[in-house]
Subunit: 222 residues, 2 copies
Protein backbone atom coordinates (compact mmCIF):
# COMPACT_ATOMS: atom_id res chain seq x y z
CA UNK A 1 0.00 0.00 0.00
CA UNK A 2 2.90 2.33 0.75
CA UNK A 3 4.25 2.10 -2.79
CA UNK A 4 0.83 2.73 -4.34
CA UNK A 5 0.64 5.90 -2.27
CA UNK A 6 4.03 7.03 -3.58
CA UNK A 7 2.91 6.54 -7.16
CA UNK A 8 -0.32 8.42 -6.59
CA UNK A 9 1.75 11.22 -5.11
CA UNK A 10 3.77 11.44 -8.33
CA UNK A 11 0.64 11.79 -10.44
CA UNK A 12 -1.09 14.12 -8.00
CA UNK A 13 2.16 16.10 -7.85
CA UNK A 14 2.06 16.73 -11.58
CA UNK A 15 -1.55 17.87 -11.48
CA UNK A 16 -0.94 20.16 -8.52
CA UNK A 17 2.08 21.73 -10.24
CA UNK A 18 0.07 22.15 -13.45
CA UNK A 19 -2.62 23.98 -11.47
CA UNK A 20 0.01 26.30 -9.97
CA UNK A 21 1.52 26.97 -13.39
CA UNK A 22 -1.91 27.73 -14.86
CA UNK A 23 -2.63 30.20 -12.03
CA UNK A 24 0.64 32.01 -12.79
CA UNK A 25 -0.07 32.14 -16.52
CA UNK A 26 -3.62 33.46 -15.99
CA UNK A 27 -2.46 36.03 -13.44
CA UNK A 28 0.12 37.45 -15.86
CA UNK A 29 -2.06 37.22 -18.96
CA UNK A 30 0.49 35.05 -20.78
CA UNK A 31 -0.85 32.67 -23.42
CA UNK A 32 0.93 29.31 -23.15
CA UNK A 33 1.20 26.63 -25.83
CA UNK A 34 2.48 23.08 -25.30
CA UNK A 35 3.90 22.05 -28.71
CA UNK A 36 4.07 18.32 -29.36
CA UNK A 37 4.89 15.89 -32.17
CA UNK A 38 6.89 12.83 -33.14
CA UNK A 39 10.65 13.36 -33.53
CA UNK A 40 11.51 15.14 -36.76
CA UNK A 41 8.02 16.42 -37.57
CA UNK A 42 9.39 19.96 -37.70
CA UNK A 43 8.40 21.56 -34.36
CA UNK A 44 11.52 23.70 -33.98
CA UNK A 45 11.53 24.85 -37.61
CA UNK A 46 7.84 25.83 -37.40
CA UNK A 47 8.60 27.64 -34.16
CA UNK A 48 11.42 29.57 -35.85
CA UNK A 49 9.09 30.60 -38.71
CA UNK A 50 6.46 31.62 -36.12
CA UNK A 51 8.90 33.69 -34.07
CA UNK A 52 10.19 35.49 -37.20
CA UNK A 53 6.61 36.58 -37.96
CA UNK A 54 6.07 37.80 -34.38
CA UNK A 55 9.33 39.76 -34.06
CA UNK A 56 8.69 43.32 -32.89
CA UNK A 57 4.96 42.63 -32.43
CA UNK A 58 4.71 40.22 -29.48
CA UNK A 59 6.94 39.36 -26.54
CA UNK A 60 7.67 35.64 -26.73
CA UNK A 61 9.60 33.20 -24.55
CA UNK A 62 10.42 29.55 -25.21
CA UNK A 63 11.08 26.50 -23.05
CA UNK A 64 12.73 23.65 -24.96
CA UNK A 65 12.34 20.07 -23.75
CA UNK A 66 14.71 17.39 -24.96
CA UNK A 67 16.12 14.17 -23.60
CA UNK A 68 19.61 15.59 -24.22
CA UNK A 69 21.49 18.53 -25.83
CA UNK A 70 20.66 22.23 -25.88
CA UNK A 71 20.69 22.44 -29.67
CA UNK A 72 17.06 23.57 -29.96
CA UNK A 73 17.36 26.36 -27.37
CA UNK A 74 20.44 27.63 -29.24
CA UNK A 75 18.48 27.77 -32.49
CA UNK A 76 15.76 29.84 -30.80
CA UNK A 77 18.25 32.20 -29.12
CA UNK A 78 19.80 32.98 -32.51
CA UNK A 79 16.50 34.71 -33.32
CA UNK A 80 16.92 36.97 -30.28
CA UNK A 81 14.20 35.12 -28.34
CA UNK A 82 14.92 34.01 -24.75
CA UNK A 83 14.95 30.21 -24.49
CA UNK A 84 15.44 27.86 -21.55
CA UNK A 85 16.55 24.29 -22.21
CA UNK A 86 15.27 21.43 -20.04
CA UNK A 87 16.96 18.05 -20.44
CA UNK A 88 14.76 15.24 -19.16
CA UNK A 89 17.71 12.82 -19.05
CA UNK A 90 15.68 9.92 -20.40
CA UNK A 91 12.06 10.80 -19.68
CA UNK A 92 9.87 10.83 -22.80
CA UNK A 93 7.93 13.98 -21.84
CA UNK A 94 8.09 17.19 -19.83
CA UNK A 95 6.16 17.34 -16.57
CA UNK A 96 4.57 20.26 -14.78
CA UNK A 97 7.11 20.35 -11.96
CA UNK A 98 9.98 20.82 -14.40
CA UNK A 99 8.14 23.80 -15.87
CA UNK A 100 7.31 25.14 -12.42
CA UNK A 101 11.00 25.12 -11.41
CA UNK A 102 11.91 27.23 -14.47
CA UNK A 103 9.19 29.83 -13.89
CA UNK A 104 11.34 31.52 -11.24
CA UNK A 105 13.81 32.39 -14.03
CA UNK A 106 11.13 33.78 -16.38
CA UNK A 107 9.61 37.25 -16.06
CA UNK A 108 6.08 36.22 -17.01
CA UNK A 109 4.85 39.81 -16.82
CA UNK A 110 7.17 40.62 -19.72
CA UNK A 111 5.68 37.97 -22.03
CA UNK A 112 2.60 37.74 -24.26
CA UNK A 113 3.29 34.17 -25.37
CA UNK A 114 5.23 31.26 -23.89
CA UNK A 115 5.86 28.25 -26.13
CA UNK A 116 6.88 25.01 -24.46
CA UNK A 117 8.33 22.63 -27.04
CA UNK A 118 7.90 19.14 -25.64
CA UNK A 119 10.09 16.06 -26.16
CA UNK A 120 9.52 14.46 -29.57
CA UNK A 121 6.99 11.72 -28.83
CA UNK A 122 3.39 11.03 -29.87
CA UNK A 123 2.32 9.24 -26.67
CA UNK A 124 3.60 10.36 -23.26
CA UNK A 125 3.44 14.18 -23.63
CA UNK A 126 -0.32 13.99 -24.33
CA UNK A 127 -0.96 12.68 -20.82
CA UNK A 128 0.90 15.29 -18.76
CA UNK A 129 -0.81 18.63 -18.18
CA UNK A 130 1.82 21.37 -17.92
CA UNK A 131 -0.70 24.10 -17.10
CA UNK A 132 -0.74 25.35 -20.71
CA UNK A 133 -3.80 26.94 -22.33
CA UNK A 134 -3.55 24.85 -25.48
CA UNK A 135 -1.85 21.69 -26.62
CA UNK A 136 -0.82 22.06 -30.26
CA UNK A 137 0.47 19.12 -32.27
CA UNK A 138 2.46 18.81 -35.46
CA UNK A 139 1.98 15.92 -37.89
CA UNK A 140 4.08 15.87 -41.04
CA UNK A 141 2.97 14.35 -44.33
CA UNK A 142 6.02 12.06 -44.34
CA UNK A 143 4.74 10.26 -41.22
CA UNK A 144 1.70 8.71 -42.88
CA UNK A 145 -2.02 9.41 -42.78
CA UNK A 146 -2.74 6.57 -40.32
CA UNK A 147 -1.52 8.54 -37.31
CA UNK A 148 -4.92 9.74 -35.97
CA UNK A 149 -6.01 6.11 -35.62
CA UNK A 150 -2.71 4.98 -34.14
CA UNK A 151 -2.25 7.86 -31.67
CA UNK A 152 -5.84 8.85 -30.83
CA UNK A 153 -5.09 10.40 -27.43
CA UNK A 154 -2.74 13.02 -28.86
CA UNK A 155 -5.28 13.99 -31.52
CA UNK A 156 -8.08 14.03 -28.92
CA UNK A 157 -6.33 16.45 -26.56
CA UNK A 158 -4.82 18.84 -29.13
CA UNK A 159 -6.56 22.17 -29.74
CA UNK A 160 -4.81 22.69 -33.08
CA UNK A 161 -2.97 20.53 -35.60
CA UNK A 162 -0.20 21.84 -37.81
CA UNK A 163 -0.11 19.54 -40.83
CA UNK A 164 3.49 20.13 -41.82
CA UNK A 165 5.68 19.38 -44.87
CA UNK A 166 2.81 20.09 -47.25
CA UNK A 167 5.51 20.89 -49.84
CA UNK A 168 6.40 17.16 -49.87
CA UNK A 169 2.83 16.04 -50.60
CA UNK A 170 3.55 15.28 -54.31
CA UNK A 171 6.29 12.88 -53.23
CA UNK A 172 4.53 10.89 -50.48
CA UNK A 173 1.37 8.79 -50.14
CA UNK A 174 -0.63 10.86 -47.69
CA UNK A 175 -4.40 11.31 -47.97
CA UNK A 176 -4.98 14.76 -46.45
CA UNK A 177 -8.78 14.49 -46.47
CA UNK A 178 -8.69 11.11 -44.70
CA UNK A 179 -6.20 12.25 -42.05
CA UNK A 180 -8.20 15.40 -41.36
CA UNK A 181 -11.54 13.57 -41.22
CA UNK A 182 -10.18 10.95 -38.81
CA UNK A 183 -8.56 13.63 -36.65
CA UNK A 184 -11.85 15.56 -36.48
CA UNK A 185 -13.74 12.39 -35.54
CA UNK A 186 -11.54 12.29 -32.43
CA UNK A 187 -11.79 16.01 -31.77
CA UNK A 188 -14.80 18.02 -32.91
CA UNK A 189 -13.05 21.36 -32.38
CA UNK A 190 -9.62 20.64 -33.86
CA UNK A 191 -8.24 23.61 -35.82
CA UNK A 192 -6.13 22.36 -38.70
CA UNK A 193 -3.48 24.43 -40.49
CA UNK A 194 -1.79 23.03 -43.59
CA UNK A 195 1.71 24.43 -43.46
CA UNK A 196 5.27 24.08 -44.63
CA UNK A 197 8.13 25.16 -42.40
CA UNK A 198 10.39 25.03 -45.45
CA UNK A 199 8.38 27.31 -47.77
CA UNK A 200 6.42 29.24 -45.11
CA UNK A 201 3.10 28.29 -46.75
CA UNK A 202 0.13 28.52 -44.40
CA UNK A 203 2.07 30.21 -41.61
CA UNK A 204 0.11 33.48 -41.71
CA UNK A 205 -3.21 31.78 -40.86
CA UNK A 206 -1.55 29.96 -37.96
CA UNK A 207 0.01 33.14 -36.57
CA UNK A 208 -3.32 34.97 -36.87
CA UNK A 209 -4.95 32.19 -34.85
CA UNK A 210 -2.26 32.47 -32.14
CA UNK A 211 -2.84 36.22 -31.98
CA UNK A 212 -6.58 35.67 -31.46
CA UNK A 213 -5.80 33.24 -28.60
CA UNK A 214 -3.47 35.84 -27.03
CA UNK A 215 -6.28 38.40 -27.20
CA UNK A 216 -8.64 36.01 -25.38
CA UNK A 217 -6.10 35.44 -22.61
CA UNK A 218 -5.61 39.18 -22.11
CA UNK A 219 -9.40 39.72 -22.10
CA UNK A 220 -9.87 37.10 -19.36
CA UNK A 221 -6.90 38.30 -17.24
CA UNK A 222 -8.04 39.66 -13.90
CA UNK B 1 7.53 -2.22 -7.38
CA UNK B 2 4.84 -4.84 -7.90
CA UNK B 3 2.18 -2.70 -6.27
CA UNK B 4 3.13 0.34 -8.31
CA UNK B 5 2.60 -1.74 -11.43
CA UNK B 6 -0.88 -2.72 -10.22
CA UNK B 7 -1.82 0.91 -9.70
CA UNK B 8 -0.50 1.90 -13.12
CA UNK B 9 -2.62 -0.90 -14.55
CA UNK B 10 -5.75 0.62 -12.99
CA UNK B 11 -5.05 4.01 -14.54
CA UNK B 12 -3.93 2.58 -17.87
CA UNK B 13 -7.03 0.37 -17.76
CA UNK B 14 -9.32 3.38 -17.63
CA UNK B 15 -7.55 5.08 -20.51
CA UNK B 16 -7.59 1.93 -22.63
CA UNK B 17 -11.32 1.44 -21.98
CA UNK B 18 -11.96 5.11 -22.81
CA UNK B 19 -10.14 4.63 -26.11
CA UNK B 20 -12.30 1.59 -26.89
CA UNK B 21 -15.48 3.48 -26.00
CA UNK B 22 -14.45 6.43 -28.18
CA UNK B 23 -13.82 4.07 -31.13
CA UNK B 24 -17.32 2.61 -30.74
CA UNK B 25 -18.93 6.06 -30.52
CA UNK B 26 -17.06 7.32 -33.61
CA UNK B 27 -17.82 4.18 -35.57
CA UNK B 28 -21.56 4.53 -34.92
CA UNK B 29 -21.69 8.31 -35.32
CA UNK B 30 -23.16 8.78 -31.83
CA UNK B 31 -22.42 12.08 -30.11
CA UNK B 32 -21.61 11.44 -26.43
CA UNK B 33 -21.78 13.95 -23.57
CA UNK B 34 -20.39 13.41 -20.05
CA UNK B 35 -22.59 15.61 -17.83
CA UNK B 36 -21.02 16.68 -14.54
CA UNK B 37 -21.74 18.96 -11.58
CA UNK B 38 -21.90 19.18 -7.81
CA UNK B 39 -24.84 17.37 -6.16
CA UNK B 40 -28.08 19.27 -6.56
CA UNK B 41 -26.95 21.61 -9.34
CA UNK B 42 -29.81 20.38 -11.50
CA UNK B 43 -28.26 17.91 -13.96
CA UNK B 44 -31.23 15.56 -14.14
CA UNK B 45 -33.81 18.35 -14.40
CA UNK B 46 -31.84 20.01 -17.22
CA UNK B 47 -31.57 16.63 -18.90
CA UNK B 48 -35.36 16.19 -18.68
CA UNK B 49 -35.94 19.64 -20.24
CA UNK B 50 -33.38 18.76 -22.96
CA UNK B 51 -35.00 15.40 -23.75
CA UNK B 52 -38.46 16.98 -23.97
CA UNK B 53 -37.14 19.37 -26.64
CA UNK B 54 -35.54 16.51 -28.59
CA UNK B 55 -38.53 14.17 -28.52
CA UNK B 56 -39.41 12.95 -32.01
CA UNK B 57 -36.38 14.71 -33.53
CA UNK B 58 -33.36 12.81 -32.22
CA UNK B 59 -32.75 9.31 -30.88
CA UNK B 60 -31.33 9.69 -27.38
CA UNK B 61 -30.09 7.25 -24.75
CA UNK B 62 -29.00 7.95 -21.16
CA UNK B 63 -26.62 6.31 -18.70
CA UNK B 64 -27.15 7.47 -15.13
CA UNK B 65 -24.32 7.28 -12.60
CA UNK B 66 -25.05 7.44 -8.90
CA UNK B 67 -23.49 6.09 -5.74
CA UNK B 68 -26.85 4.48 -4.93
CA UNK B 69 -30.53 4.30 -6.06
CA UNK B 70 -32.02 4.17 -9.54
CA UNK B 71 -34.19 7.24 -9.00
CA UNK B 72 -32.60 9.26 -11.82
CA UNK B 73 -32.93 6.50 -14.43
CA UNK B 74 -36.60 6.16 -13.48
CA UNK B 75 -37.15 9.89 -14.03
CA UNK B 76 -35.60 9.62 -17.52
CA UNK B 77 -37.60 6.49 -18.45
CA UNK B 78 -40.84 8.32 -17.61
CA UNK B 79 -40.07 10.49 -20.67
CA UNK B 80 -39.93 7.38 -22.86
CA UNK B 81 -36.14 7.57 -23.16
CA UNK B 82 -34.07 4.39 -22.53
CA UNK B 83 -31.90 4.79 -19.43
CA UNK B 84 -29.37 2.50 -17.77
CA UNK B 85 -28.51 3.03 -14.10
CA UNK B 86 -24.96 2.42 -12.85
CA UNK B 87 -24.44 2.39 -9.09
CA UNK B 88 -20.81 3.00 -8.17
CA UNK B 89 -21.34 1.71 -4.64
CA UNK B 90 -19.18 4.42 -3.08
CA UNK B 91 -16.92 5.63 -5.87
CA UNK B 92 -17.19 9.38 -6.50
CA UNK B 93 -17.13 9.12 -10.31
CA UNK B 94 -17.90 6.85 -13.23
CA UNK B 95 -14.97 5.18 -14.99
CA UNK B 96 -14.57 4.08 -18.59
CA UNK B 97 -14.76 0.36 -17.83
CA UNK B 98 -18.18 0.73 -16.22
CA UNK B 99 -19.38 2.45 -19.40
CA UNK B 100 -17.73 -0.17 -21.58
CA UNK B 101 -19.56 -2.98 -19.79
CA UNK B 102 -22.93 -1.31 -20.46
CA UNK B 103 -22.27 -0.74 -24.16
CA UNK B 104 -23.17 -4.36 -24.91
CA UNK B 105 -26.72 -3.56 -23.78
CA UNK B 106 -27.02 -0.40 -25.91
CA UNK B 107 -27.73 -0.42 -29.64
CA UNK B 108 -25.40 2.44 -30.52
CA UNK B 109 -26.44 2.36 -34.17
CA UNK B 110 -29.93 3.36 -33.06
CA UNK B 111 -28.77 6.50 -31.23
CA UNK B 112 -27.84 10.05 -32.28
CA UNK B 113 -26.96 11.19 -28.76
CA UNK B 114 -25.86 9.39 -25.60
CA UNK B 115 -25.82 11.41 -22.37
CA UNK B 116 -23.83 10.01 -19.45
CA UNK B 117 -24.88 11.74 -16.24
CA UNK B 118 -21.95 11.40 -13.86
CA UNK B 119 -21.98 11.15 -10.06
CA UNK B 120 -22.58 14.54 -8.41
CA UNK B 121 -19.05 15.75 -7.63
CA UNK B 122 -16.90 18.69 -8.80
CA UNK B 123 -13.52 16.92 -8.49
CA UNK B 124 -13.14 13.22 -9.37
CA UNK B 125 -15.29 13.00 -12.53
CA UNK B 126 -13.12 15.63 -14.25
CA UNK B 127 -10.12 13.31 -14.18
CA UNK B 128 -11.64 10.17 -15.71
CA UNK B 129 -12.03 10.07 -19.49
CA UNK B 130 -15.09 7.98 -20.37
CA UNK B 131 -14.48 8.21 -24.13
CA UNK B 132 -17.07 11.01 -24.52
CA UNK B 133 -16.82 13.73 -27.15
CA UNK B 134 -17.55 16.54 -24.71
CA UNK B 135 -17.55 17.08 -20.99
CA UNK B 136 -20.36 19.46 -20.07
CA UNK B 137 -20.69 20.89 -16.58
CA UNK B 138 -23.51 22.50 -14.66
CA UNK B 139 -22.95 25.25 -12.09
CA UNK B 140 -25.96 26.71 -10.34
CA UNK B 141 -26.17 30.26 -9.06
CA UNK B 142 -26.91 28.99 -5.55
CA UNK B 143 -23.43 27.41 -5.32
CA UNK B 144 -21.51 30.69 -5.34
CA UNK B 145 -19.42 32.52 -7.94
CA UNK B 146 -16.10 31.35 -6.44
CA UNK B 147 -16.35 27.89 -7.97
CA UNK B 148 -14.08 28.43 -11.03
CA UNK B 149 -11.21 29.33 -8.71
CA UNK B 150 -11.95 26.52 -6.27
CA UNK B 151 -12.49 23.76 -8.85
CA UNK B 152 -10.25 24.84 -11.75
CA UNK B 153 -9.76 21.37 -13.26
CA UNK B 154 -13.46 20.84 -13.91
CA UNK B 155 -13.77 24.26 -15.56
CA UNK B 156 -10.60 23.62 -17.57
CA UNK B 157 -11.77 20.32 -19.08
CA UNK B 158 -15.41 21.23 -19.77
CA UNK B 159 -16.42 22.11 -23.32
CA UNK B 160 -19.62 23.83 -22.19
CA UNK B 161 -20.99 25.27 -18.96
CA UNK B 162 -24.69 25.38 -18.15
CA UNK B 163 -25.11 28.20 -15.65
CA UNK B 164 -28.30 26.97 -14.02
CA UNK B 165 -30.94 28.40 -11.67
CA UNK B 166 -30.75 31.81 -13.34
CA UNK B 167 -34.31 32.35 -12.06
CA UNK B 168 -32.88 32.51 -8.51
CA UNK B 169 -30.34 35.25 -9.35
CA UNK B 170 -32.39 38.04 -7.65
CA UNK B 171 -32.28 36.03 -4.41
CA UNK B 172 -28.59 35.06 -4.22
CA UNK B 173 -25.22 36.84 -4.24
CA UNK B 174 -23.74 35.57 -7.47
CA UNK B 175 -21.69 37.77 -9.80
CA UNK B 176 -22.38 36.26 -13.24
CA UNK B 177 -19.78 38.39 -15.05
CA UNK B 178 -17.06 37.44 -12.54
CA UNK B 179 -17.87 33.72 -12.65
CA UNK B 180 -17.91 33.71 -16.44
CA UNK B 181 -14.68 35.71 -16.75
CA UNK B 182 -12.85 33.42 -14.31
CA UNK B 183 -14.19 30.32 -16.05
CA UNK B 184 -13.02 31.63 -19.44
CA UNK B 185 -9.58 32.41 -18.01
CA UNK B 186 -9.27 28.68 -17.33
CA UNK B 187 -10.78 27.65 -20.65
CA UNK B 188 -10.52 29.90 -23.71
CA UNK B 189 -13.20 27.94 -25.63
CA UNK B 190 -15.81 27.43 -22.93
CA UNK B 191 -19.37 27.80 -24.28
CA UNK B 192 -21.59 29.24 -21.58
CA UNK B 193 -25.39 28.94 -21.53
CA UNK B 194 -27.39 30.82 -18.89
CA UNK B 195 -30.36 28.57 -18.20
CA UNK B 196 -33.09 27.67 -15.80
CA UNK B 197 -34.32 24.10 -15.57
CA UNK B 198 -37.37 25.41 -13.71
CA UNK B 199 -38.55 28.03 -16.22
CA UNK B 200 -36.90 26.58 -19.35
CA UNK B 201 -35.11 29.89 -20.04
CA UNK B 202 -32.03 29.52 -22.25
CA UNK B 203 -32.72 25.90 -23.13
CA UNK B 204 -33.28 26.49 -26.85
CA UNK B 205 -29.76 27.87 -27.38
CA UNK B 206 -28.29 24.89 -25.53
CA UNK B 207 -30.27 22.36 -27.59
CA UNK B 208 -29.28 24.13 -30.81
CA UNK B 209 -25.62 23.81 -29.77
CA UNK B 210 -26.07 20.07 -29.07
CA UNK B 211 -27.64 19.62 -32.50
CA UNK B 212 -24.64 21.31 -34.14
CA UNK B 213 -22.29 18.95 -32.26
CA UNK B 214 -24.36 15.94 -33.45
CA UNK B 215 -24.02 17.19 -37.03
CA UNK B 216 -20.23 17.37 -36.65
CA UNK B 217 -20.08 13.80 -35.34
CA UNK B 218 -22.15 12.51 -38.26
CA UNK B 219 -19.98 14.46 -40.72
CA UNK B 220 -16.80 12.90 -39.32
CA UNK B 221 -18.23 9.34 -39.13
CA UNK B 222 -16.45 6.98 -41.45
Amino acid sequence: MHEIAVNEDILAGNDAAARHNREHFIEHGVYVVNLMSAPGAGKTTLLERTLERMAGKHRVGVIEGDVATSADAERIRRLGVPAIQINTGGECHLDARQIHRELAAIQLEELDLLVIENVGNLVCPAEFDLGEHDKVMVLSTTEGDDKPRKYPVMFHVARALLLNKMDLLPHVDFDVAKAEREARALNLDLEIFRVSGRTGAGMDAWVTWLEERMRRVKAAAT
